[in-house]
Symmetry: C2
């Protein structure tokens, strides 16, 4: 890649940022398409976040931002418009400048995951069981509902968090029945969006019910393929379809670059 005075800017803002892959991935993506643009990592602590994002948004040659931990919720306040899924999740991971100078916020954390799942089975009409109602879980639930899932059962150690997500989903999707708690029914889609599985020795995030060859099992926990989570291992043994955290990340690049491209 080259960089000059005419190079358009994108940044990923977070703390820490040394581990983020987006600068290399998006900058290569731009270069391959002959677009004179780079993405750089912008490290901003919680204390400096407001000044940092205001400053980046004040640059006339900066067209978009990615937002990563711990700023996904705080960043919402800087969007003039929010997508429905961003409102449901209560967080954004991307901001773009519109031609009129306003900023639109969106949340793509569920997009890659559900996009990968949708390639295997149609989400429409399916019953889903979702463990974990944090940011990732909320993003996935919003995408499942948007893709026409018939029902979603939400399971979270905090019943309040699950109830809040149910209410947010109900506001925007009245065709999808959302319940809180594991009803013990059989679900065609079972997803772990909790942190259970990150640590060695972690078991299942909860009772997944009957898993068979027709079940789609997803797990957002990022692990090397050789050491799958207990849930993924169970799914593999049952011959079920599996979507992993890797698939979730791969699917985001295309969706976010289309989001940015929409105003380029």
């Amino acid at each position: 890649m080259n960089i000059d005075g005419a190079t358009r800017l994108y940044a990923i803002i977070g703390d820490p940022v040394v581990q983020v892959r987006s600068p290399a991935v998006y900058t290569a993506h731009f270069a391959e398409r002959g677009i004179n643009a780079v993405m750089f990592a912008a490290q901003a602590s919680r204390e400096s976040f407001d000044a940092a994002i205001r400053g980046l948004m004040a640059l006339g040659n900066l067209d978009g931002l990615l937002i990563t931990s711990p700023h996904k919720t705080s960043a919402m306040a800087f969007a003039d418009e929010l997508s429905t899924r961003a409102k449901i999740v209560g967080a954004i991971n991307a901001l773009r400048r519109e031609p009129d100078g306003s900023w639109t916020g969106d949340m793509f954390d569920g997009v890659g995951f559900v996009g990968a799942a949708q390639k295997i089975v149609a989400i429409s009409g399916k019953r889903a069981l979702l463990f974990g109602c944090g940011g990732a879980g909320a993003a996935i639930a919003a995408e499942l509902a948007a893709h026409g899932a018939r029902s979603i059962a939400l399971v979270d150690p905090s019943e309040h968090r699950a109830l809040a997500l149910r209410d947010a989903l109900a506001t925007y999707f009245d065709g999808c029945s959302v319940t809180v708690g594991n009803d013990g029914a059989t679900h065609e889609i079972v997803i772990n969006a909790s942190t259970i599985g990150m640590k060695e020795g972690d078991g299942l995030p909860g009772d997944p019910g009957v898993i068979g060859a027709g079940t789609l099992v997803g797990d957002v926990v990022l692990r090397p393929p050789a050491t799958p989570t207990v849930l993924v291992r169970l799914a593999q043994e049952a011959g079920a379809h599996v979507v992993t955290g890797q698939d979730m990340h791969a699917g985001q690049l295309d969706a976010i670059s289309a989001f940015f491209k929409g105003v380029r």
Copy 2:
């Protein structure tokens, strides 16, 4: 060059920025030395300058800034410490973050020029005549005084501007005699730091006095070598030493990269 989450950031802030060469030059300079750093151009209007520079300075992985037109004066307010030459000029073109988190501002506009002159003749003990007391002229005057020039005669259409520069120089350099107006004496160093010579048909910036083979003539006006200013042509015909605007730019890179490196 490559860019990743660990890439250290430098930016040049100005408006416009599409024409600036620093992003390409410094990024190549870093890459050649195996330093994982980039410089990008940050476009900020006068209205958005404060927010923009505050935001850039809030980034934990941004180590330095270059400042170009029209922000060189406004940027001073963001420095915790200023070099003597920055105080004399009343403007900065570089800011670096110190290990304690404070910011030091410096002004290198005169450094490249006087550095190039110093390679040809020792400045110490010389009498200088300087046309133009704006930013470039003030920066060059401060460097001449710092290098031990015996005297500097300042010529500017605004006598107030020349007097203000004389007073600023007198505050810091009592060994250098600074006068306002062309005294008609012979000067070993004659420099044009005014804009005269930029337009086709421009003549001399003023009476340069006697120019001989021993005179050093400088002209900050950037022109193609084939179409020198009237002052440079006069100097060439007299067999004098000549320093051009190109030399001024070339000399800045080393000085500024040493300034940034001082805290790396």
